[in-house]
Structure formats: C-alpha cells, structure tokens
C-alpha cells in the first residue's frame, strides 16, 4: 500500500468519524452527496459538481437553516473529499482493468 493510500484512508476516517461539530450522519450524507434536504442539498451538490458556482447566498441559506460556521466548514470538506474520492476510485478501477492487476 502506497503512502497516498494510507493518507487518503486516514483523511476520510478523520472527516467522517473524527471530532467534529456536525453529526456524523450529516457528514456522511455530504460526503455521499445523497439524502440531503434543502438548503444543504443545493450547497453540497454545487460543491460536488461545480464548486465555482457556490455563492454567498448558498452559504447564508445553510447558516439560516441553523448550521454553525464550523458545521458548514465540515460538510463542505466532506463533500469535496467525497466527490474527489469517487473520481479517484473509478480511475483506479480503470487502471486495474487496463493493466490486469490490482
């Protein structure tokens, strides 16, 4: 196992299950970009698929819904890592398939 694999696993474990202010279920849903209600759904969907379109209003709406800045920080981090990790997995699967080894 390369260093990157261990570091990647540790990062995911930390943001999903480490000390945080957002409930673990909410962090997992943000990571998965699934099962979220508005206005959190809109913010997390943008982070996952076109983060450059996130606006002040998207963040303000989530704040108004009752999340603290630290909770918003955490779910955005989870969403970014979740989407990037799904991309990475498809690429590693393609690499294993193309080279016939894992």
């Amino acid at each position: 196992m390369s260093d990157i694999t261990q570091l990647h696993r540790a990062l995911i474990a930390r943001v999903l299950n480490g000390n945080g202010k957002a409930p673990p279920e909410l962090r997992q849903a943000a990571f998965d970009n699934a099962g979220l209600d508005e206005p959190i759904r809109r913010l997390i969907e943008k982070v996952a698929h076109h983060a450059y379109r996130v606006t002040d209003d998207d963040v303000a709406a989530v704040r108004t819904a009752g999340l603290s800045e630290d909770q918003i920080f955490e779910i955005v981090v989870c969403a970014a890592i979740g989407q990037a990790s799904r991309q990475y997995k498809t690429a590693l699967d393609a690499l294993a398939s193309a080279t016939g080894e894992r």
Partner: protein, 191 residues
C-alpha cells in the same frame, strides 16, 4: 473568504504563526494557508497533498505542479490556477510553457507522455470518471503504471483543494503574494 472562522477563528498559537508569516513574507497570508492551518486535526489535507506533490515520483515537481494547475483550470478554480501556474513556472523557469499548456493542451510544447497524462486527468476531472481505454492511451505513450498512479494522486488532491478554494471563496492575491506563495511551496511543500 466566505466563512469568518477560516479568516479569524484560528487558535491563539496559530494566529501568532499567521502574524509571523505576514512579517517574514511581507505579504498578506494567502487563503490556502489559512485553510490549511484551521482545525488541522479535522481536515489537515496537507499531508496527502504533500505526498502527491513532493513524494518520490518519476514526474518532476514542475510536472506535478503543472498537473495541479491543469486540473484547476478544468475545475475553473482561479485561485489554484494562479497559485500552481506560478509554482510550475518558477520550477521550470519557463512561464510560456505553462501558459501554452493551459491555453491549448494539444499544441503546447511539452513531451507526449505528459500531454497524454494531462488529457487523462482532465477527462477524469471534467467527466468524473475514466475507463480502461483512457488508461491504455496513456500507457501507449510510454507512461508507466506507477506514473499514472502518481498523476491520479495529484488529481485527487486538487479535486479536493479546488472545491474548497471555490466553496470558501479564496481571494486571488496580488502576483507578488502568489509568487511568494509559490516560492514557499517549492522550498517547504504543503505540510
């Protein structure tokens, strides 16, 4: 910065470090550093990024910084394009090569293995997936399996970082501040 905690919520000892960075560099602290130093026990993505960008690899540091800039261009992340174009340009000592690669990958004056690899990470970033044929196209240019893995690690790190930079609205600092950041990344890395 869209969240005030990322600007002003650091622990007292970290705030002192931020003051020190400002004094030594004589530039405002770039937002990427403020993020990296905020609750590092929670996010602390610097270790993964450092390993991808500075760990052992057949790709040069300049090549990996160019990959970071290229992925960021696909993600339309202005902050990271500026930061990693500057770092790659500084490493190569060739700004024109970096600018040409970001302007048009197909005509840029770079080696074919690097071009094929950039094509692959560009597609993965844009379409969120690649298939075995995309990998075979890179292998056919003489890129090793390990080099592909190394490029995918850079792609992972910057698909995380770009999202955070844009979601938190990092300010693109002055060229002088971005160049100071680039020098820091070449001397100290990402940890």
């Amino acid at each position: 910065m869209r969240l005030a905690v990322l600007d002003r919520g650091h622990r007292p000892r970290t705030k002192a470090v931020l003051v020190l960075i400002r004094l030594v560099s004589r530039q405002p602290v770039v937002d990427a550093v403020k993020l990296a130093l905020y609750r590092p026990d929670f996010y602390g993505g610097g270790h993964l990024t450092h390993e991808a960008m500075r760990g052992p690899s057949a790709w040069s540091i300049g090549d990996r910084e160019l990959m970071a800039a290229f992925v960021s261009k696909v993600n339309e992340c202005r902050f990271c394009v500026a930061a990693h174009s500057a770092t790659s340009s500084l490493w190569y000592g060739d700004h024109a090569k970096v600018a040409a690669t970001l302007a048009n990958l197909e005509t840029a004056p770079i080696d074919e293995p690097l071009r094929a690899t950039l094509r692959m990470v560009g597609k993965l970033t844009r379409e969120h997936s690649i298939d075995p044929d995309d990998i075979r196209a890179v292998l056919a240019e003489g890129v090793s399996r390990q080099q592909i893995e190394d490029a995918l690690a850079v792609c992972l790190a910057f698909n995380i970082t770009d999202r955070l930079a844009d979601a938190f609205d990092f300010t693109v600092a002055s060229p002088a501040a971005m160049n100071a950041g680039a020098r820091h990344l070449l001397t100290h890395g990402y940890r």
